[in-house]
């Protein structure tokens, strides 16, 4: 019974902890439940613990504490079954420069026991997807950074994985390549029922691709939901203020106002979520004047995932 209910989950993690040495707590108790056939984005600043989490879920690292299953298999007790069911694109390149692109893909598929015919067909299909056909028989050392990234991405897709892990998959890609890869990932999900866990530093990408998003910092998940749920928490509008002076007093005054749902302050920015930006703008400015806070710049906008990110991590989405 437990087995069959787990099967419907792509990923389940409970109390996952990873400690390096004595005092580096890279992942500090992560719980994740990711349904099959969803694209799930893990967002967080540098050093938040995203890669470490992926390394544990992909069986590369043993968790210090906690447990996890991927595609219904336990990452420790059934590591080989997990490996059989997943595809991974790591954050840092893991390509062997001395092989040709085609050799790299073929070799990878052989590790998974794919037959010659399957390999040939899949390689042709995927090379076409990322427009690497012409470069396929050159050694990888002659590829540009973006070409290597594209090759690495399709390598993870060679084996038609049930669960795909993508650690910053589109880092260093031009907009067209990003868009194509994004479309293909969505297609894989929709047509083949694949589940995807990805990390990204592109907020538009996270918002567009993912069904659900979690924000992670200091090894903990701070919030989780669909992109629109998270954005709606922010209020209908966000007033963003850059200024100097007595910020603390200003923030506490704003906090006391009934109109304002969220106040965040970090990196010299103050963000206020309100039900209607134009209605409360004057009020906010007058609070600033009363608290010796000089407003240098003020704007009203619809909130985005980036604002949610800022609220939870105190950092801009791309810093």
């Amino acid at each position: 019974m437990v087995e069959s209910s787990n099967k419907r989950l792509a990923i389940k993690a409970e109390g996952l902890v990873k400690r390096f040495d004595e005092n580096i707590l890279a992942v500090n108790g992560i719980d994740l439940t990711i349904e099959a056939n969803t694209i799930f984005a893990l967002l967080g600043p540098n050093g938040a613990g995203k890669t470490t989490t992926i390394n544990m879920l992909t069986t590369l690292l043993a968790p210090t504490e906690g447990s996890a299953s991927v595609a219904g298999f336990d990452v420790i007790k059934q590591a080989n079954e997990v490996r059989n069911a997943i595809g991974v694109t790591f954050q840092e390149t893991t390509l062997d420069d001395e092989l040709t692109g085609r050799q790299a893909l073929d070799f990878h598929a052989r590790l998974y026991g794919m037959s010659k015919d399957q390999r040939t067909a899949k390689i042709r299909e995927l090379l076409a997807l990322v427009e690497l056909e012409e470069a396929a028989d050159r050694t990888i050392s002659t590829y540009s950074g973006g070409m290597k990234r594209r090759l690495e991405l399709i390598r993870g897709l060679m084996t038609d994985p049930e669960v795909l892990f993508l650690d910053e998959p589109t880092l260093g890609l031009d907009p067209q390549s990003r868009a194509r890869i994004g479309d293909y990932i969505v297609e894989l999900k929709e047509k083949h029922g694949m589940s995807v866990l990805l990390t990204t530093h592109y907020m538009d990408e996270a918002e567009k691709l993912s069904d659900r998003v979690a924000i992670i910092d200091h090894g903990k998940i701070l919030t989780e939901g669909t992109p629109s749920e998270l954005v709606e928490q922010m209020g209908a509008d966000v007033i963003t203020i850059i200024g100097h002076g007595n910020r603390e007093e200003f923030v506490s005054k704003i906090n006391d106002l009934p109109c304002c749902e969220t106040v965040t302050s970090g990196n010299g920015l103050v963000q206020i979520g309100v039900d209607s930006g134009s209605k409360h703008l004057v009020e906010v400015i007058s609070q600033a004047n009363q608290s010796d806070f000089v407003v240098d710049d003020i704007s009203v906008a619809k909130p985005s995932l980036g604002d949610v990110f800022l609220k939870f991590t105190g950092r801009q989405f791309r810093d």
């Binding site: 992909t58 069986t59 079954e81 490996r83 790591f90 001395e98 052989r110 590790l111």
Partner: protein, 259 residues
């Protein structure tokens, strides 16, 4: 096993494509035989029981052992490179036994070592080493060399798993390689050594591979080898244990490097 063969295949494809590696792999043992063998032969020859030509015959097994250990060092640095470049992550995420990753590397090291050994034997014949052409002798010799290479490859892989620094790896392994060659009967007979050195040579696996090769390859080798008072079966036994210990050490250090 099939994963080990896939990995072996990858390493071989890479080496065959690399013309610099290939040519140095083939030329180096030839240079050893020709320069060192002939040079030392004319220096030491008059003192050798069989005269000048005999020194080449005498030291040929040592050159095979030396080349095998050189190949093992190369296998270790391939492994270290794969670790440092993150290539290992691809293997670790794949549904293959962890041990097959090491086996693939060791197998390719052994294969290259076998090719080199054959080259040395052929060059040896050409420059006039007094060698048998008995195929059984050659087969036994290649088997012995393979096991020796495996053992040394294990040590190299263990060291390459224990450090993240290419310079440190080479420094450590050279420190080990030197006594393995010189503290053995590869270049001079046991009986002419001072006692402390003979004891060192007797606990050195190189002595056993060299002695075994003399039994198997050299005309009247039994006579020559018997001087050392080491029977042939002991050579095979010691080298088999060496191979197993080496691979055991490698897999231990490898597992440790994963966390």
């Amino acid at each position: 096993m099939s994963a080990a063969i896939t990995l072996w295949n990858k390493h071989m494809v890479k080496s065959l494509r690399n013309s610099m590696e290939m040519s140095s792999m083939l030329i180096q043992p030839v240079l050893w035989v020709v320069l060192f063998g002939v040079g030392m032969g004319s220096l030491l020859g008059p003192n050798m029981p069989g005269g000048q030509d005999f020194y080449i015959t005498f030291m040929l097994p040592g050159i095979i052992a030396l080349t095998a250990s050189g190949g093992a060092i190369g296998g270790g640095s391939t492994w270290l490179n794969e670790r440092l470049q993150g290539i290992v992550k691809e293997y670790l995420a794949a549904p293959i036994p962890r041990l097959s990753i090491l086996m693939g590397n060791a197998l390719s090291t052994v294969s290259k070592g076998l090719v080199q050994s054959l080259v040395i034997l052929i060059v040896g014949l050409i420059v006039g080493a007094n060698m048998t052409t008995n195929p059984l002798g050659w087969l036994g010799a290649l088997l012995l060399v393979s096991a020796f290479t495996l053992g040394f490859a294990g040590i190299a892989l263990a060291m390459a798993s224990s450090t993240d620094n290419t310079g440190a790896y080479h420094a450590m392994i050279m420190l080990l390689n030197l006594p393995l060659l010189f503290l053995s009967n590869a270049l001079y007979p046991l009986e002419t050594m001072p006692t402390w050195m003979r004891i060192g040579a007797l606990i050195n696996p190189t002595t056993y591979v060299v002695t075994g090769l003399r039994y198997l390859l050299i005309v009247n080798g039994t006579e020559l080898a018997r001087v050392e008072a080491i029977p042939l079966w002991l050579c095979f036994l010691v080298i088999a244990i060496f191979a197993i210990l080496g691979m055991w050490l490698a897999s231990r250090r490898f597992k440790k490097s994963l966390n």
